[in-house]
Symmetry: C2
Subunit: 253 residues, 2 copies
Amino acid sequence: MSGNRAAGDERSVAEKVFAIADAFSSAGELSLTEIAQRAELPLSTAHRLVAEWVEWGGIVRGDDGLYRVGMRLWKLGVRAPTARRLRGVALPFLEDLYELSRENVHLAVRDGLGVLYLERISGRSAVPVISDIGSRLPLHATGVGLVLLAWSPPELLDELVASSPRKYLANTMTTDAELRPRLAEIRSAGMATSVNEMTQDSFSAAAPIRDHTDAVVAAVSIVAHADRSSDPRYPLAVGVAARGISRALGWRS
Amino acid sequence: MSGNRAAGDERSVAEKVFAIADAFSSAGELSLTEIAQRAELPLSTAHRLVAEWVEWGGIVRGDDGLYRVGMRLWKLGVRAPTARRLRGVALPFLEDLYELSRENVHLAVRDGLGVLYLERISGRSAVPVISDIGSRLPLHATGVGLVLLAWSPPELLDELVASSPRKYLANTMTTDAELRPRLAEIRSAGMATSVNEMTQDSFSAAAPIRDHTDAVVAAVSIVAHADRSSDPRYPLAVGVAARGISRALGWRS
DNA sequence: TCCTGACTTCCATCCAGCGGAATCCTTGCT
DNA sequence: AGCAAGGATTCCGCTGGATGGAAGTCAGGA
């Protein structure tokens, strides 16, 4: 048996442990073989390390033999201070927006070139949206994304345009020329509204949330049926909620 | 320099990596030294492994030099299927309960001998409660806990009584003799209601959530001001919500 | 029954991780 | 400024735990 560590993988043990965790970012349940493939590890190494994950409780193995993210990781994850604080402060305001509209209410932050949804409240008859908590969409493809992009450092826009060779959704702008004036408009209006832009028959209003340093750290939005586009209460309420959350975060004036 | 691996720690690298993560289960922000102490690792080892965590993004280092749980772990954690599915299904029902009561609405599961809160919706004027998402309380100390305990295997009760030598809260029952009839009562009523039992001036109603195998997998509750204890709508609504969530999970009849 | 694919166990090799100690950096006190 | 104390970082020679190919086991399908 020639099983020395010899040449090959330059990764440290810790990196391999993390690679296994990363395997779950693209799927909810995986077999050992799938984990090994995604993490690019030999089956036997994956087997051993996954066993350590399972012993710890970060990954659980179901009766069907498939591995899933365990409650240990869930408990750890919800301790992330940024998400925890923001969510805690924002939730009552999101409730208000939900009661007003009975539609989708979103809370999101920027994560690289994407929007990361921290919270979503959906009415039973709300417009179906692709976003789900923990999921990521490109910055230019949603209302909250545009708001976050509008108040991001300009380099980010260049990077985004460069990384988006093709259109993501039918009505989405991806070129410099289309996006730049739109963002300027959003900045001067203080928020973003759109009709039938991201999703068919939908109307969205999104506004920025600022912290005590006046930096935009998150965004709230309502995504409603298009026939509400003439209702002035929606943009108004989103703006009020965003300012309320900002104040609760220590923002002044 | 005699820095060999020699005798001492029997833990594998992966276990040390996890020990570092566990350090954050008791505090939101830690210095390197604190992490090393909690994980029982030499400072230099902790330093190296924490650096790997930071590189991966599971832990972030703030401007103040303190380490916190990062968004990478948050994103991974919310992928835990049990929490994700339950939360997604239950949220609309929790909203309904919140709108009815404007009080604390809880969704919780059993985690060992404790209750683990998956979700909490709190009104601005709700009774202050200790529970927070991701936090754990003993099973016998809360309404949802009693419900979960009532439908748990009996061995669990023995274990719980054995592990609780003293009273946790003023009005909490911890002995076999007190707890057993109470649980029987809860089972026959199908839910648990209590006044001034867990917290002063509070009234709570909790009901079990069942999945397609008819097993109790979670519990919902309202914790309201004590003056609502005569309002029959609260227990009723909690029961209806619990059955609604159960049905949405595939439970029949 | 045989075959296929997925999972589990084994073990000789050897280098990646180890951690004590020295060093650097920051903060607070005199 | 000078000093002390505590925390963070870097160094480096030693060695035993991690490694992964291969063989063995198991389950299901043809």
